[in-house]
Subunit: 454 residues, 2 copies
Amino acid sequence: MKKFKKYYLSEKEMPTQWYNIMADMPNKPKPPLHPGTKQPLGPEDLAPLFPMELIKQEVATEKWIDIPEEVLDIYKIWRPSPLIRAYNLEKLLDAPVKIYYKYEGVSPAGSHKPNTAVPQAYYNYKEGVKRITTETGAGQWGSALSFATQFFDIDLQVFMVKVSYNQKPYRKSMINTWGANVVPSPSNLTEVGRAILEKDPDNPGSLGIAISEAVEMAVKDPDTKYSLGSVLNHVLMHQTVIGLEALKQFELADDYPDIVIGCFGGGSNFAGISFPFLKENFEKGKKTRAIAVEPYSCPKLTRGEFRYDFGDSVGMTPLIPMYTLGHTFMPPKIHAGGLRYHGAGAIVSQLLKDGLIEAAAVHQLECFDAGVKFARAEGIIPAPESTHAIAQVFREARKAKEEGVEKTILFNLSGHGLVDMASYDQYFAGNLHDYSVSDDEIKKNLEALDSLGV
Amino acid sequence: MKKFKKYYLSEKEMPTQWYNIMADMPNKPKPPLHPGTKQPLGPEDLAPLFPMELIKQEVATEKWIDIPEEVLDIYKIWRPSPLIRAYNLEKLLDAPVKIYYKYEGVSPAGSHKPNTAVPQAYYNYKEGVKRITTETGAGQWGSALSFATQFFDIDLQVFMVKVSYNQKPYRKSMINTWGANVVPSPSNLTEVGRAILEKDPDNPGSLGIAISEAVEMAVKDPDTKYSLGSVLNHVLMHQTVIGLEALKQFELADDYPDIVIGCFGGGSNFAGISFPFLKENFEKGKKTRAIAVEPYSCPKLTRGEFRYDFGDSVGMTPLIPMYTLGHTFMPPKIHAGGLRYHGAGAIVSQLLKDGLIEAAAVHQLECFDAGVKFARAEGIIPAPESTHAIAQVFREARKAKEEGVEKTILFNLSGHGLVDMASYDQYFAGNLHDYSVSDDEIKKNLEALDSLGV
């Protein structure tokens, strides 16, 4: 029979501050630029989109930011989340590794996303905002934000990437049940959406396009703000509760990870699990490796370029210094919809550029294979996004075995897959494929950025 | 903004024994009878179906039964489950009530069912069983048992009620992902199933039919045992961890419930939340009311008769003394598939007969209305089954307001609805209906029992 060990924290041991890695980075990210003037952005440029407190957090350099009491109260619905020793996966892999995972699927939305959705909704509420727009890929962010905004009686309009809207109808239903509106993107609610649909009525959508639509709607209405579920500094910071809890739980386990792994779309769950361990690297000279795992079919970290690019597909957002495939890159229709994004957050990109984190890319079938094995070993069915982290754990275990070196591995199980079972059905039926992206395709989209002149 | 309070238990405070209400009942249930001889069953009659330890528990009269260490270890993956004060629902209902709910959706299968699936799989494993059959309605039991059997390397064959198999494809996928086999019932894997399909190829199935198929397969193969997710004494007892935890959590809250509510299919989640409070009634003369809530369309507790009947539809199982609509009763196709069962467990039936618990019946639309309001107030989307408990909370709150009497209410949120979002879609689209059952229909099915002569 199988064996388990969960490391438990009480509510009293929950972190009361977020960790801001900006304070410790040897090289700070270059500033975001205004999309029109190409000059560094000021707070006033962001004011139409975000409440002032989040704008302050976006540029904050203090190491610790207090989590408001009201946010902590809501966190407690599902936090602290468990850290679990994956004894059965260890046995299956038969390698000299100890494996731990932090399980974020315990939130009512089923993923890590509420960790930032709740504070974002809270700060908007504090500043009197009545309506928010956002985009969502697989629907994890859209459902998390609809979960959060209903606590504060804020209206929410979600633009959901069309391919996911069709593949993942349950997340759309969750958004509706929590009382928000959701449309497939590209939609006819915005100029951006209408223009795309006119040229290409069957456009499957992308996170970049959905961001363009949500931003357009927010900019045009002074009573509406915009909310982003990843990429930005404040979003990544909110997620550090994950790793801060894990640090305390490793004390209980009397252990410490050599390797920390998270899947990677825009950076938020990866940052959440890894930044607190990078803090230990900075402060105490620890040598934990942090590995961001992206889909092979959307390889911005492993095959993209580090340069200024837009956060959206159309070019409405500020220019961000990041690893990118070009904002015009259209990711293949893999089932890990939350990872179908052309770029990466500024902080994560700078860390990668400076060699302080690593990146890896894995194929879809390898991920589902690892995900099913994990479900059968540990009893939790992972979200397709999270299977990328698990596939990398398998690789690291194989490597440890080949090299005969003992390793302790921590990964973030960022969400459960109960709302993604159609993807598993497709996998079992043999209908899923791997997708590669040609060098020419990447080059073409990156060269298009040259005209930006930054 | 909204307000929350979660009452937390540490792993150390988890119950280490199940509560066996048989010890305290003023009138014990009459014995189950052999379906052929109509004589009281002996352990040897059950041996083809269950491992000996579960047979012992089925007839045990000790008040406390130790939970094996191995089971506790697996429970700890998701237990203790939270007790949450539903401040926001209270505000919405605007009545003199305090409302608490115990949230069982935190288990990896998303419902309370693993509380008994894990010990059942464990005892089978201990006695060398290699293969188990079972039935499932909405799929919560089948998915929970597939979650549990994989821990012990036991093969599992699930017969899933056809209407739910089609309405709830995700639960089927979960069962596959955890490595078990699942077929729609009636199936052509059994004589029972083939006979039904021959007469009625479009038969939507029922829990009773699925039980017949699972039992037939187990009886015919000496290496195969059978497992039931509700109704039986040992199943109800395993679920008492829910109420035992809640008792401790109410101490932390410095409060105590006047009313305890659970939805009702065969009795397991209702028993789990209520029996430990009945214990306090027995021991300390407390007066907590326990209310079992069934669908209006499947009203065995409120409109059935107390008499011996089969647990399945075909008449293969022992005869159980219970409230029943007759084993030939075919419940309408409501979305709360887990509550579509003609009968009730022997213990719960005896308690109802003796006036120690109460029963209520609610319509489907009233349930979804309450479920959506709960989701928007408290942030958790309930399973369609669990919405029956919530609808009753609404009724009790209205009554308390009319009567001007303060009440403290506890209900069991037995599972989340993330795998049932198609039901919510149907509800929002206006496609759901209420179903009533005529007196003639009930009478016809009950009269058919007369020929049993017991």
